[in-house]
């Protein structure tokens, strides 16, 4: 609480200083984002209200559908010389836009508000691609959640699996009892989401080398072959209807006791609660298995990138928007709605309506930071450039779809696909 108070003061001081120095400037912004519908649109509307309450003039450009639509619009705007003031963008794309010199510098504001002290360490490197703050994180999603059906586990007297061997043993028992063990809907991103957890759970260092640094030797290593073998085994624990099934349908399979497990990020929590499923009754949430003991956290984060502007009103507005986004008040409202946790690690989650899963997420995040096990998600575009990620996801999704590909071949294909992109 003390922290948030000082932060608020910091924000208002910055705002006052800003107003004082450029008397004529009237902070305004136009934020481009892809959250056009549902609870996410409502959360963004809240951001607009907070922004206006802080004295800014709020405009937004919502581009519905896939991220690529936003990227296409952004690209044409930048080429036309009318870059938007603020854009919702993720991971390595921040670095890409930063490297062509299109982004604005937020270092002063970040220093005044002490962002470096409160933002999770893996995240700061994404927000500061070349050492300067150019983006503000809105949340932290956890990718490595294992949702389980209490009904099935209780009936069979099984514990939540902690290691992959536990998981395999549990699945063998569950399949023998006639249930689907792992609910899944095949798509390149969801197959890769599962594989994120597998590689990470097998060997966190391998994960860093292969998925964060795109190291092809790591991709050819025995560890990667073992990971693919585990993934192959897990495909066997899925039913035959994985193709053409959405992740929400898979989620429902586990929530209704049709399947025992489901691996997906924490947006599941928001969807499940919205659909009327109850935490602890219809589902439990735990971290996906890890063979190395301890706490693991695979992170995904939505963020807002600020592009260079010439109009002083918009420059002023960027400072105010970044400050609003980083405020604990916004982070609470936004993340309660989205199922994620604040990007600031100093927010108290016991108030404001966070669920048990979300609170557990923060506990695990803190533990994971201490243990040095925190990583970013490859599947959710937080690590390597899209061209590498796309190439890797093709190999992973083909491996899931095609039984005839051996783990050795898959590891080799993974490395080759990445080498091809250079």
């Amino acid at each position: 609480m003390k922290n948030s108070k000082t932060h608020l003061m910091g924000a208002s001081v910055v705002a006052m200083v800003a107003v004082a120095t450029t008397a004529a400037a009237e902070p305004r912004t136009n934020m481009m984002h892809q959250w056009a519908q549902g609870s996410e649109a409502a959360a963004i509307a809240t951001l607009g209200e907070m922004y206006e309450a802080a004295g800014g003039i709020w405009e937004q450009t919502a581009i519905s559908g896939h991220t690529s639509n936003t990227l296409a619009k952004l690209r044409s705007d930048v080429v036309a010389g009318i870059a938007p003031a603020a854009v919702q963008l993720k991971g390595p794309e921040i670095a890409e836009w930063d490297s062509i010199g299109a982004t604005a510098n937020l270092d002063e504001l970040a220093a005044a508000e002490g962002w470096d002290d409160v933002v999770a360490p893996e995240l700061t490197s994404v927000m500061k691609p070349a050492g300067s703050w150019v983006a503000a994180p809105m949340n932290i999603h956890r990718v490595n959640w294992l949702y389980s059906s209490p009904a099935i586990l209780d009936e069979l007297g099984l514990d939540i699996p902690v290691t992959w061997d536990d998981f395999n043993a549990a699945c063998d028992a569950i399949q023998a009892a006639g249930y689907v063990c792992l609910a899944h809907g095949a798509a390149d991103w969801s197959d890769a989401t599962t594989f994120d957890s597998v590689v990470y759970g097998m060997d966190a260092d391998l994960y860093r080398a292969a998925f964060q640094e795109a190291d092809v030797d790591a991709m050819r290593s025995q560890g990667m072959i073992d990971s693919f073998a585990q993934l192959r085994r897990m495909v066997g624990y899925m039913d035959d209807g994985i193709n053409g099934r959405s992740w929400e349908q898979s989620m429902t399979m586990t929530m209704t006791g049709e399947a025992a497990f489901f691996m997906m990020g924490d947006w599941t929590v928001a969807s499940a609660n919205l659909a009327g499923f109850e935490e602890g009754v219809d589902y439990n949430c735990n971290q996906t298995p890890v063979n190395w003991g301890g706490n693991g956290f695979i992170l995904n984060s939505d963020s807002v990138v600020f592009f260079n502007q010439t109009d002083p009103d918009y420059i002023e507005g960027q400072q105010l928007l970044a400050s609003t986004i980083m405020s604990p008040e916004f982070q609470v409202v936004f993340n309660v709605a989205k199922g994620s946790i604040p990007a600031r690690t100093d927010v108290d989650l016991s108030v404001g309506g966070f669920t048990q899963c979300q609170q557990q997420g923060l506990v695990d995040l803190t533990a994971s930071v201490e243990e040095g096990t925190l990583v970013r998600s490859m599947a959710h575009n937080m690590t390597v450039l899209q061209k590498y990620r796309g190439a890797m996801m093709e190999v992973i999704t083909e491996f899931v779809a095609d039984d005839s590909i051996t783990p050795e071949e898959a590891a080799e294909q993974l490395a080759e696909a990445v080498e091809l992109q250079d």
């Binding site: 896939h66 991220t67 690529s68 639509n69 990227l71 296409a72 690209r75 930048v78 080429v79 794309e93 890409e96 836009w97 062509i100 095949a186 798509a187 039913d239 035959d240 209807g241 994985i242 193709n243 053409g244 099934r245 450039l385 899209q386 061209k387 990620r389 796309g390 190439a391 093709e394 999704t397 083909e398 491996f399 899931v400 779809a401 095609d402 294909q413 696909a417 091809l420 992109q421």
Partner: protein, 307 residues
């Protein structure tokens, strides 16, 4: 005739009437030149440029083509284009012809049948794909229905089988387009001179034989028109596959348009996306150039005959 004044006036008028069609067509020609030729050339240049996230016009060589052809997803997509295109066009023509001939038999409620068979064309590819995905999916569609009525060993899982999934796309495409083929072919059948058929009947030919040897050959331009329209549907296929299989299982049903879109808009590889787009154009040329040569050859031959 007052020959000294009117010739200039008449020839001026004559010229204007001669030129009017050309003048009216000029804007279209101009637009076509820009949209087709200029943009094709531009795409061609982008494909050999250094473009990545943003267009960069500096020359970068043919490396993107090499990388493209080493990617499994692209080779699968390109093969799929030819396989899907061939089966889709032939299948739609076959089913369309069959339906047209059946309706041509002066069946009762002809208008109703025509509407029913033409109806799929009014449904967007997205809706078509989504509904047929439900029908084909083992847990929501035919297989489930059969299992529910007690035939437990019934299996119908083409959509989840990587070898059969493309045929699911072909089937759905044919379902969507054959009504269109039927409508055009039926119009053609109705335009055939009844005396021709009567003459053949007098010669003692059976109905199937009359259709095969007399009626259908006389309306061949309609088949060409339908083929051309269907071919361009096949080449730009995107939403049908996205809704039906999302290109899966794995990459088994990916089509080139999906790859182009992904490369350009998702992965920030504009040059490679442009290279893929150029390859689609090449694919189109492989089909169309023989056709253009053939029509040219045919026109010349007919000209000689008349001469």
């Amino acid at each position: 005739m007052p020959e000294n004044t009117t010739p200039t006036r008449a020839s001026w008028w004559q010229k204007l009437t001669d030129w009017t069609p050309q003048l009216v067509l000029l804007p279209t020609l101009f637009a076509a030149a820009i949209y087709v030729v200029l943009f094709s050339l531009w795409t061609l240049w982008i494909s050999v440029s250094q473009s990545t996230l943003l267009p960069n016009m500096a020359y970068g060589g043919f490396g993107e083509y090499a990388a493209l052809w080493q990617s499994k997803r692209w080779t699968v997509a390109y093969q799929n284009l030819f396989l899907f295109g061939t089966l889709y066009v032939l299948g739609s023509l076959f089913v369309g012809t069959l339906l047209a001939i059946l309706i041509d038999q002066r069946v009762k409620f002809e208008a109703m049948w025509r509407t029913i068979f033409l109806y799929p064309l009014a449904i967007s590819f997205i809706v078509t794909g989504t509904v047929w995905r439900w029908i084909f999916h083992p847990q929501t569609g035919v297989e489930k229905a059969l299992n529910d009525v007690g035939w437990l060993s019934a299996q119908f899982d083409w959509i989840t089988d990587r070898d059969m999934a493309l045929y699911v796309v072909v089937f759905t495409g044919i379902w969507h387009a054959s009504g269109f083929a039927m409508a055009l072919i039926l119009a053609g059948l109705r335009s055939v001179d009844g005396d021709l058929v009567k003459a053949a009947q007098i010669d003692g030919a059976s109905m199937p034989r009359i259709y095969r040897r007399v009626v259908l050959p006389t309306i061949w331009p309609i088949f060409v028109a339908v083929t051309v329209v269907l071919l361009q549907f096949a080449i730009k296929t995107y939403d049908l596959v996205v809704a039906l299989t999302q290109g899966g299982p794995g990459v088994a049903t990916t089509v080139p348009a999906i790859v182009v879109y992904d490369l350009m808009f998702e992965r920030g590889q504009i040059a490679q996306g442009a290279a893929a787009a150029v390859m689609i154009l090449v694919g189109l040329a492989i089909v169309l150039i023989p056709y253009v040569l053939w029509t040219g050859w045919r026109a010349r031959k007919e000209g000689q005959n008349h001469g």
